[in-house]
Symmetry: C2
Subunit: 308 residues, 2 copies
């Protein structure tokens, strides 16, 4: 069978990039995989893991003659990558990215893209709290959504080709405009991460409860937050800086609601608490019914803990 693309260049080879590399190889989606990353150390590791066919620290070299270029770098590095690779892009090539913010990535990359290249901003909603080329695995995108935020001028054919690529990885593809994407992600992903980072920071700073007590008794709720709060700091710094408006809007809503909840606790308004706590339970049920989380108590940890 003909591979989907002749040459795919992967710019950035962390959790996402290296998972894509593994899937391309496993599924035979390209004749050749070229891997590029700024850090020589990471590049060497990618080579040791055998993730590609050729390796270079130069994004420009990597994209030469590539039919598909996938940029998987912290969103703050998007412009610099675009500037480096732009002159070397092959006419007709598809350039996409995996960044968690879309308006900012478009603002950073689109102005540098040659007219004869199809730039299709994308965002696979997949990942774990681990990072780096060792953290990737084949199958990461299976059953997950990938959101495209295409520019109005993009023709149907390259869009369909990129869609077919993500579908081959097992993803379901959605399209929306970048501003809406950034609002949706602010609530379903960015705010949860920020809140998780914050509560773990608060716990770490207490004088009356020791850190070792927090760790020892973390199974009673706290540990659920620590997974998100263990995510890649560079990636999340960049998300905060590059989706500022939507995040600040969601943070304001969250804080307002929290102040109201705090007041209900202070004044002993049990009915108000009960009403909220009942409403939120229904949402969990919907998420499980939609197949977006596992239907076992405690995320199924118990089965894994039993094996210890």
């Amino acid at each position: 069978m003909q591979p989907m693309f002749d040459r795919i260049a992967l710019i950035g080879i962390g959790l996402i990039g290296s998972s894509i590399a593994r899937d391309i190889r496993k599924l035979g989606l390209a004749r050749e995989i070229v891997i590029s990353t700024r850090s020589q150390h990471t590049l060497t590791r990618a080579e040791e893991l055998g993730l590609g066919d050729r390796y270079t620290t130069s994004a420009a070299q990597a994209v030469e003659n590539a039919d598909l270029v996938i940029v998987s770098v912290p969103v703050g590095a998007s412009e610099s990558v675009a500037v480096q690779m732009a002159p070397a892009l092959k006419p007709g090539a598809i350039v996409t990215d995996v960044g968690s913010t879309k308006a900012s990535v478009i603002a950073q990359m689109a102005p540098h893209m040659p007219d004869d290249v199809h730039f299709i901003p994308g965002h696979p909603l997949a990942g774990t709290e681990k990072s780096g080329p060792d953290a990737g695995f084949s199958g990461l995108f299976k059953g997950r959504w990938c959101i495209f935020t295409p520019l109005p001028e993009t023709p149907a054919e390259p869009l369909a080709r990129l869609r077919a690529f993500w579908e081959a990885l097992g993803s379901k593809v959605d399209e929306m405009d970048p501003q809406h994407h950034d609002k949706v992600l602010a609530i379903v992903s960015h705010l949860p991460h920020i809140i998780a980072y914050n509560i773990v920071g608060t716990a770490d700073d207490l004088e009356t409860v020791t850190e070792s007590e927090v760790i020892k008794y973390s199974a009673s709720g706290f540990r659920d937050f620590t997974r998100l709060a263990a995510s890649d700091p560079t990636m999340w710094r960049d998300v905060c800086l590059h989706n500022k408006d939507a995040i600040l809007e969601m943070l304001a809503r969250f804080s307002e609601d929290l102040a109201s909840l705090q007041r209900a606790i202070r004044w002993g308004e049990g009915d108000k608490l009960f009403e909220l706590f009942t409403r939120t339970r229904a949402i969990r049920r919907s998420i499980v019914e939609a197949g977006q989380d596992v239907d076992v108590p405690d995320f199924g940890r118990h089965a894994l803990e039993e094996k210890k």
Copy 2:
């Protein structure tokens, strides 16, 4: 082998009570298990599940001649249960509870306890987001902490007997004073639940992002919060009302930290964000190293999702 207790009375037969019942039966820790709960419906279900030997809606009847009484009700119901059962308690009996707040439970129950009964407040740090007698399972307490907050006058012998009981269920037992317990739990359990309830409520209220979008894309972070936000509303209403001071203190700290984080995002202070996001990652590592969470990405959900 002689069972540890002749008769154990379980007052309340939800997730915790029914898990204890299953363990007592499985491990042969009592000659007879008497189950009592206010709701006839729940009592009938407990009987259908065969969780005990005798069933009654009267707490007073249930505790007659019981050597060990375990109260597993929402903390707000503690005083009412104490009043009901007090006249029927057997001299020398051990009375314990499993409530998530301790100062309040002591204030509610201790004044009603006869002098010849040993009241030992306790709190097993175990549970899932499910509730009711069907949600319990044998082994829930294995490897989990159980915290006693004994009154100063309690003799060593009943304390040692109750400790042996929880150890038989696989728990590790700690002792601390009730005020400290309530502070520790406020940060490791109560605040996380309140924050989780709050963020899920915020997401549910948005006008710009639909509920179906929140559910559809929840795997990108949000769903981690929905597990805690699916916990029993009655239990959590009571926790909020009965550990008010410690919770309000922790909420104030959390909000202060969040305001500072919000400011860093608004003013683009990348270094400050990076510093926090790095520090919190270390705490996750400590929790995994301490054996308090599973050492697999995404709580090991991926393996379960693969099976779908």
